[in-house]
Symmetry: C6
Subunit: 76 residues, 6 copies
Amino acid sequence: MADTWLTSLITDTPQAGFELAITLSRRGVKYTQPDPAVLKKLRPEYAEDAEALTAASQVIAINFQTIAAANNYWRK
Amino acid sequence: MADTWLTSLITDTPQAGFELAITLSRRGVKYTQPDPAVLKKLRPEYAEDAEALTAASQVIAINFQTIAAANNYWRK
Amino acid sequence: MADTWLTSLITDTPQAGFELAITLSRRGVKYTQPDPAVLKKLRPEYAEDAEALTAASQVIAINFQTIAAANNYWRK
Amino acid sequence: MADTWLTSLITDTPQAGFELAITLSRRGVKYTQPDPAVLKKLRPEYAEDAEALTAASQVIAINFQTIAAANNYWRK
Amino acid sequence: MADTWLTSLITDTPQAGFELAITLSRRGVKYTQPDPAVLKKLRPEYAEDAEALTAASQVIAINFQTIAAANNYWRK
Amino acid sequence: MADTWLTSLITDTPQAGFELAITLSRRGVKYTQPDPAVLKKLRPEYAEDAEALTAASQVIAINFQTIAAANNYWRK
């Protein structure tokens, strides 16, 4: 991918960090399947499947661990 | 999502931290499938499936790692 | 859940820590499916399934990571 | 379980630590299914299934992370 | 494998680190199945399967944890 | 297992560390299924299955986390 999409892991708030974790999780999918048409076709398939949604939430949780550590857990 | 739902990872007790881990796990699902009607339809499906419950418990465990570290494990 | 079940991650021994990890893993299931009748019905289903037992052991392992770190690995 | 089986995470060598990780992984299964007859019956089922063996290796890897950290990675 | 493909975990940017995590994830597959013809045959199979894409994203997330820690999270 | 196969987690390079992570992952399988004839029979089964290859790569990634931390990420 030629575009720049990730220049820092630092976010202002935990919620912004959680949303960045979602971005990382989706990018992990996109690097493996870059064709937007295929991704669009697959979306309904897993967005209505309980197991797939739990699996998606797990990838977000793993990426959130990384981002939370990077931000020193937003401790004040 | 426009609403603010996560302003801090700090909690008073480990139990409150565990419950926040549950919130993060559910939010991970909601960001992927925001339609409450679909989520409601899926709920009985996985809440009565042993494997799906174990998978849900695993996501909670991963998020609890993050929150426990953020709180320095509530050591006194 | 209104009851208090987790006031500290500190345990006297690694074994007590491992058993606390089991408690956390089961609580993760209970928060998702609070009905004891459903849980009881599901129990034989996964307690006699090799894959489900491995998955349960994995959740325990993840929670044990958290508890072991909290206890500074019970180093003397 | 009334018996004492885990009094320390410290081992002399990384290999002994890896073997302790295997013990933890099996104990995680045993706490969930304590009946040795059932466990014996399930054993051939997963010991000849490639996916189940990979899953078992994963639980060992997670427990080894904990034990390796406890031993400060056996650095000299 | 005789070739040298990994001499450092340090990258200039988080994005380069994420891309290195993808490399590690693919190498993990290649060490297990070194035959490029088999890998090529399998590719369409999982690149159009939602669960497989989530699983691939999870391996990337785990490797990114390692690389992000190695780079001290690219904090300035 | 009577043989000594793991005396240190320290390696000269990240690549040697990654290869050690593969060794750990395979040993995790071997401790569970020590019969080489069974392992040989299972090999083609999972080496041509995309999901199984991703799962194998995940175990390697988890073990690589441990080894990379042991080596302080090969920082100079």
